[in-house]
Each structure stands twice: as C-alpha cells, then as structure tokens.
Amino acid sequence: MTTIPDESQVLEALREVIDPELGCNLVDLGLIYDIKIDGGAVSVAMTVTTPGCPMHDSLRAGVRNALLNLEGVASAEVDLVFDPPWHPSMMTEVGRRMTGAY
C-alpha cells in the first residue's frame, strides 16, 4: 500500500534543497510559501531571495525533484511567486543561525 506523505514529510524532503549562496535549506530560509497535498499530487508555492536570482530555475527544479523523490508522490507542481517578496525576517531561527543573520 502506498503511503501518502504529510506536510511534515514534505518539509523534511525540501530541507534537502539548499540555496548554494546562503548555505541554508529553502524551508528554513522561509522560501516555501505554501504546500498542498491532494493524494499523490503535491503542489508547492515558493519564492527566491531576490527577483532575477540566477538560481531560481535550479531551485525550482530541485524542489520538484525532492518532491518526486518522496514515497507516495506521483506528481509535483512548483509555482515560483514573488508576491509577497521575500524578506530576511521570514527565516526560521534555524535559518538565521545557518546564514549568520540577526
């Protein structure tokens, strides 16, 4: 029987995707705006730290790869959004520690 992942498992998987410039995962950077799980279909709304970030394609593809790599995920959709724009205050405590932010 296939197990459908829950939100915490999806977040754990997305913690393996890092922003290579900041050296921190996307979840703790606060770049993951929304997760929707509908059976085996997962959709994620994410942003990047700055519009025009040259990494945005890599990160979006990385999020999709990480989702498809999860047991029980049959399809994954990743939307890149810029509204609201990202701000360092959106980082978690872990993210702040990892990036040396205060």
Partner: protein
Amino acid sequence: MEAILPLSATVSPVTTRPAAAAEPTVPSIWLPLSFIVTGLLALLTAVGWMIAQPDLLTTYHYNQNIIALTHLVVLGWICSVVIGATYQLVPVALETKLYSERLAKCQFVFHLVGFVGMVWMFKTWNMKQVGHFGSILGLGAGLFIYNLARTLLRVQKWNIVATALASSLAWFTLSILAGLSIAAGKCSYDSTEGAAVASGVRTLIAGLRSMGAFMSRFDAISAMHAHAHLGLIGLFTMLVVGVSYKLVPMFTLSEIQNRRRAGLSIALLNAGLLGAFLSILLRSPFKFVFGMVVCAALGMYGWEIAAVLKARKRAALDWGVRSFITALCLLAPLGLLGAVLAWPRLPLNVFTGQLENLYGFLGAFGFVTLAIIGMLHKIVPFLAWFKTYSPHVGRFRVPTLAALYSEHLQRIGYWTWLTGLAAAGAGILLQSDVVARLGVIALSFTLLMLAVNIAKILSHVLQPKLSPLPGRAKSS
C-alpha cells in the same frame, strides 16, 4: 514532527502571484568563462612584466612600454573580466535575458585579436597598427554595446542599475572613440598620396587626416589622461556602482536604503565625468571643480553602501564581499589623490609624475582589480556550480558555493594583495625599483592563491562531488 512553514502562517496562498518572468536568465557558462580566463592570463602577463621591469612603475608613464602595459591591464585584464562578468551579471541585475549570446561570442574574437594586437603595437610604437587593431577591438565593443543596449530595451521596469549600465555603455563608446582619435592624431597618412585608391578608402583617409588635424589641437598627455578617465571612471567605476546596488544587498541580505541618494550618485558621476573629461582635455583649471563633483558622487555612493551594510541581516561578510568593500574604501585615497592632482597650481615636477603613477596604479590594481578579485570568488563558483550541480539539486546532496574553493587561500590572497599594494605604492613614490618589485611579487602571490582556487572550483566541473540524500527516497 510539526510542520514549520515560516510564511504559511502569515501569507495566504490566495495572495501569492506567479512569477511573470521565470525564464532562465543565465547565459552558457563558457561565454563569461572565456573572457574571465583571458583576463586572468593577461593579468598574469602584466604582473610578470612588472616583476621583470619594475621601472615601468617608477618612471614617468608617457612611454611606449608603460602605455602598452596599461592597455594590457585595462583592456586585457579589466575589460575582459568586466565584459565576461557583465554578460553574466547584467541579466541577473536587470532580471532579463541577454539579447544575443552569438554576438557575445563574436565579440570575444574581436576583443582578443584587438587587445593583443594593440598591446604589441603600442610596444613597438606603431600607431597606425594600433589604430587598426583598435578598430578591431572597437568593432567588438560595438557588438557588446549593441547587445547590452538591446538587453536594456527588454527591461520591464527601469531602475538605477539600468541607468548606470546605460551610462557606462555611453562612456565606453566615447572612450573607444577618444582612443581611436588619439591614435589617428599620431599617424601620418601620406602613403597613398597619388595612388589610385577607391573613393571609399580616399574618403576614409581624408576623414582620418581631419581627425588627426583636430586632435593635434590638444596636448597629447592631456588627451591620454582624459581618455583614461573615460574608461576607468565611465566604464568601470560606473559599472561597479550600478551593479553593486543590486549585488551588495543580495549578498548581505539587505536592501537599498535610499533610492534617491543612489540615483543622485549616478547622476553626479555622469555630470562630474563629463566636466572632468572636457576640462582635463582642455587643461582647464575647472578640472578641480569637476573632480570634486566626481568625489561627491562617490561619497554619495559610499554613504548608500554603508547604509546598506548597516541594515544588513547577514552578520558575517564573506571574503569576496570584504574584498569588494575594501576596494570601495580605496576610492577615498584615490579621490584625495585625484583632488591633489587636479589642483590648478600643482607644480609639474618628478614627484607629481610619480603621484600620477600612484593614482593610476591604485585605480587599476587597488580599486578595480581588488573589486574584481572579490567578485570572481562569487562569479566563478556560481558558473561551475550551475554547470555541474544545478541538474542534481533535490536528487543528491550538492555542495554550497563556498565549499567549492578554499576560504583560507582567499584570505591569504586578500592580505598579500593589500601588502603588495602598499609596498608597490611606496616603491612608486620613492622611485625605488627594489621596493616596487617586492610589492608586485606580493601581488603575484595573491594571483597564485586565486589560480589555485579557480583550479579547485573548475575541478568540480570535471569531477562533481555528489553525495546521496538520506534514505527517505522511493524504493523504486
């Protein structure tokens, strides 16, 4: 484990808007890399030349070898890297795609042939051939300017970065025209007298003769200084100012603090440079006034960057950003030196000549080169990472950009560069070949560190270092 969505609590999914322009903006890594490697080879050659002949720094700069060396540094090193980096950074800074990679590749060939030929011909002081090779370089520069101008036309929302870029393209055009005019002014065009030449060629020669006659109205050294300022301030400083308004906030997790101040710095830099160019060319005492306008522009810029850094959220600055910021700090002694040299009643003696050498040296190797070395530790790792690891994100554990090179070597290189600058600067002022040579040897040590780091970074392209993700993956 409880889900931690830092924004899910504060952002309604309904309010999120899909990105309008999410197309890839990065050109092929080989395009910027070919310019960057060319630039590094030119810098190595220039530093080797200075070690072999330190008198190039300690004697007055109006001679064929120093002019050849200057063009090797400015066109071969600075221009090559700046053009390569521009092809990579401008699409990022302007949030759009480069207009044409093919034009950029064509430019590389023109640029390479043009600057190598120019340096060689300057060394043999064959000004007619300098003009020919300069025209080849100019053709390449024309392709660069056209390519960037078309890229600028794609910008949906005009901003200060776009204004700075447009300004630098205009100054680059003027700088090349000024350089070619100076070359035309030093040539004689009597070889085709009486010969039956095509009317187009005759017209061209007549035009060059007129240009030569026009340029003979200006003092040769003043024209050379005016041309140098167009390049170093108009192209390089303007680009550094504009691009850093995007990159410094990006790397330090900060924001522009006062857009008006940032815009004013660019407007003042444009106004000051125009006045400085004309007043230097005409040997007018107003060059001091316009020099002060340029200093005010750079002061505004420094004020804004200091405010950006003060508001940053990232406490520790990496060594790439530190090098860049140190380079910006060197604008202060450079501005002071420029003000002294622009003083209308400054006596024209040997020491003044050495001050001019120090001014040029600090500008090229202090401000511009240190800024470039700092940014190369951002650009080259990104290019290698993007080529090697980008397709594997989410499938494997990939390294960070900082893990691609040695920060230890970078730190050593930073300090040896500053030591070398101080020593070579002292050698220039004291007219001591020994001290100048020691300074340049210290600079070469930094280049060794840089070369090792670049080799380490590029080794990832040949041999990627991927590690598997923790065992949570599909069993299939």
